[in-house]
Subunit: 236 residues, 6 copies
């Protein structure tokens, strides 16, 4: 029995509100249950030095949590003078994941930065960031296409992500915080269409079998399919 | 004529939504026109070393802007490795302002940290942070009183803040960003009831007279009175 | 009764010794009572990027305290790895204040950096820095004019600053450290001629009325008039 | 055809030289082909605050690359003033992986820090660090057991790691640098005995199917089995 | 012929003004020609952890240059976020040098921190800092002895330092900046009485013989003897 | 009697293994007794700004210790966010020393960076770094000459360094860690051929005479002569 009463293969309620800030080229507030992430896409003039002149585009991401997005207040990273290891790890994952779903030739030599700021956390913030980040990215790209700056759509299938884990001995989909803090084994699965972009299975102080991993991947496929449906609905 | 079409003594529309995050002891999303700030109050066990054992409470504040809260994306302060001078200045102002409205004996030896995070900026973010910060603080204190942890209310009058400046030669109330970026003279006025807590008049590359200052203070008194009404409404 | 025995509207003794270092284009050692600040003006080739090619000049300031300028030794900011919030706040104030008294067209596209280093502190270091900083700036500009690099004087009236506060219930001029550490309300008033540049009234844990503010401004006008006389004497 | 001429399921030559430094409680120099990592285990008196008094042990890891361990010289992280995101990610992975193979009750309340410093890099440094790190850890634990400080062995099965990827359309085991820099899909597989600890499959700018993932896992199981044999040989 | 017209074995004019700041337990402004250093001694309650409870005292030093102490303005180290390598090297030298002249048992378990801040630089700032630093230290110790806190004098002979170098092929004493920037070989000699504490001979892009070194040491002995006379005069 | 049983004028066993890493243009692993330093020379395209266009070459050095190169584990400098004062001091010494032995005209406008990383420390790491650093530098230069990029050899005599000190009242050559931690007086002597490059005599909490200094220099000359023989052997 899950703390939330959900079925083992049941996502939390999804809500994606688009165009929530007036400045960003694309934005959404994604809510996966009580996990709320504000995602913005910023079109930027400069590309990183290593692709200057290549004609290729770039997508990158940054991630942050508001100090009181969590149960007890965390120290503000800007006040500590650096981003923690977890933050760095997550924003690298978001960037890699979104880039894998982009046709960088079609995007052309421009950079889009996705900022994912967690307003309220209840587990699964990195997955919500990827899923919401893609929506913000898509909205920014739609603007570029409408303006004729980009001709062929560089984003075909949505990129979505979901966590799965073994909670109380049972594989479950979309862990919330009470489950996440108990689960010895959990993972994040990033997909586009029915293909995989990234799989991160991790066992903090525990281990798992290939069979368990396979069960979790079944759940992840089901979850990501539903998330992609919500993404497409949001950007219509 | 103001860009927004407002009267010279007219505030932007005010909206204060309370209890917007499930974790914080007090919270609100304050909107002053297009300036949106998420304010949370976190009750914390530790007090600063210099008041340990004094029986006195402490209120402090931190301030941040999301990277794309502004017209063009700003660099994330955590990624730069430090808070900028403007950020430090603002959060010190918020903390001083709120403390001036607190009976620290009545609060008792506990610390409340107010986080003000700007989701969308259109001028006046520090004033909105003080005004919204007081609401979050009040809600947290109400919880303490309900629980019997605090007996006599340490917060009597609301603390509110508003900016005024000389725009196109005319004193105006509550500058928005287009006005703020033009005004040679502007100031922030923090009040509690009809008394002053802080006055910061500044002339970037310009100067002003005592008479002009007096006119701005008249506007500020009018504006803060309206803001306090909205605050009291919100925390009822 | 003030600890120093001064009248409520009496400044501390002022001394401004000019040309105290052989390298700087302009310099002075200003002593306001026991507050001693070494101010230097450095002419620098580069202007900030945002005014390159504009033909406008720039004046900026940095501030520091020697570790044992104070009653008990402070940690050295370079050893701590950053400038504290108070330092940043003060040097921004000095820069803004001096710029307000400069005709940047007349100065031409060059930068002058004012360094204010407190050798001994006894309250009012930021005001002494502004007052002494203007003297150093004026001396550097005189050199530029003598050399024919600047034709029309970009500095008309002196820029001076003084603090006032309510000490033992009474408005007093030019707080020294024993007064400053007791005063619940105090402020800094920056003026040029009889016009205001910056007013910063602050009530740490207290509040004040408009009438009190007006009394402090009367004192500030008197004090700044005397300071400007001393500045003009020094740069003659 | 692989650049090295290896079979698709062939590891590079493995060499594990133990007790290579006189100070560390355990140490080895692991060579996986041209990837050379010096691993040391340091027994430390203090445990992290969050387990103080729990009776549980802790294993943590740090990772670094010598500036010229790579084809072109990298900047030294200590000179840059921070560890890069990749470094942080890797050392968190090493720590998590090794902890998953430790019986922390049997270890008792002590900390062992594993330092993995890459002397020469040719792909797969994080996997070599985990594999060599376990050997250093085991040697340190053997010393504790010999001294009677630990009674029941907290390390049962070795923890080993290997990378696999799709190179030139073909799943291959143990990527070297020329393969790694070409492969669009690759992953790291950490195992203990025949169970999984961590799976990190990543597609930089590409995607993959579940079937491909399964093929890579077959290779990883084969590779880790051989690595574990070498580890057990080394610590005998 | 030296640029200053001095003899090869001639010091610049020495001036040591004592008790120049009202807060420090000991202080002096030392002028060696145009090199001016403000030295303060601060008695501090805490000793470093490694001597707590040992009964031994500690003397340490910090060094800084005001940004415009030099011909062209240097960046402020606190603004750069760290002390440069040269600064760190110099302050370690000052600390070691002064400690060598202290009877740490007689001093008792207390720390004295010497701050050496260069107001104006013209070569030889580290030597002037050591020489002036000892005077500040001595004055602070005299206060401790007068108060009966220290009974037996922990400072017997003065500690002085002077630079020597080979300028235009000739060994010269007490290099000023024009000489220092030309000299291929130079060194700093720290002495107490007629014994050596530290010798740092360095050849930037050049080399020297033992005989040249001997000649420089003869000059250094002569110079330090004169400096010690001035020190003793100053602390009388 | 020395702890190691060596004669007072006896070096520890020297071993210099060359070409130990496949990437660096020159490299060696130098072992002076139990002090082991990995030295690499990296040819780099960019020269420092201050010599751009001068036609002169540049040699610089960086130094680091692996965390467990020492008896008890040191904190990793990259994790602390800065290089300690000792590290900075040492790498400046290595750079200065090696540059003094280079004909920078003959080298031509290119930079060679010497990295000295201590794998195991037992006293004398800075001297071993200079001695080994020269070998790595020489090997890189030989490659440049073989390729015809450099025509006239910019390195004539080897640059070597050795420490000497007064241990148990007796001048001894090449201090190991047990001696170094006891010696009140010790020094580092850098030479090229029979000429001196740098002499750093230091007395931590002690003093010494010119005669003692002379005795140590005799030892240093003997030691460096032997080291240079080993260097020439290694690069043949």
């Amino acid at each position: 029995m899950r703390p939330s009463g959900r079925q083992t293969d049941e996502l939390r309620p999804i809500s994606i509100e688009t165009n929530v800030t007036k400045h960003a080229e694309g934005s959404c507030l994604i809510k996966i249950g009580d996990t709320h992430v504000l995602c913005t896409a910023s079109l930027e003039p400069r590309v990183p030095p290593f692709i200057k002149g290549s004609g290729l585009g770039w997508v990158t991401a940054e991630y942050g949590m508001l100090p009181r997005s969590t149960g007890s207040r965390m120290r503000r990273e800007s006040a500590m003078g650096k981003q923690g290891g977890r933050t760095v790890e997550i924003q690298r994952l978001i960037g890699r994941s979104l880039r894998a779903g982009v046709d960088r030739v079609a995007l052309g030599e421009r950079q889009i930065t996705i900022d994912c700021d967690v307003l309220q956390a209840d587990g699964g913030t990195r997955c919500a960031s990827i899923t919401g980040g893609w929506v913000a990215l898509k909205l920014a790209v739609q603007k570029l296409m409408k303006a004729g700056d980009v001709v062929s759509d560089p984003l075909i299938d949505p990129v979505a992500a979901v966590s799965c884990g073994i909670y109380a001995g049972q594989p479950v989909l979309d862990l919330d915080y009470p489950e996440d803090s108990e689960a010895g084994v959990d993972g994040n699965f990033v997909m586009t269409g029915n293909r995989l972009i990234e799989v991160q299975m991790s066992a903090e102080g525990s281990t798992f079998t290939r069979e368990q991993m396979s069960q979790l991947m079944d759940l992840a496929e089901k979850g990501n399919t539903e998330l992609m449906k919500a993404q497409l609905e949001a950007v219509k």
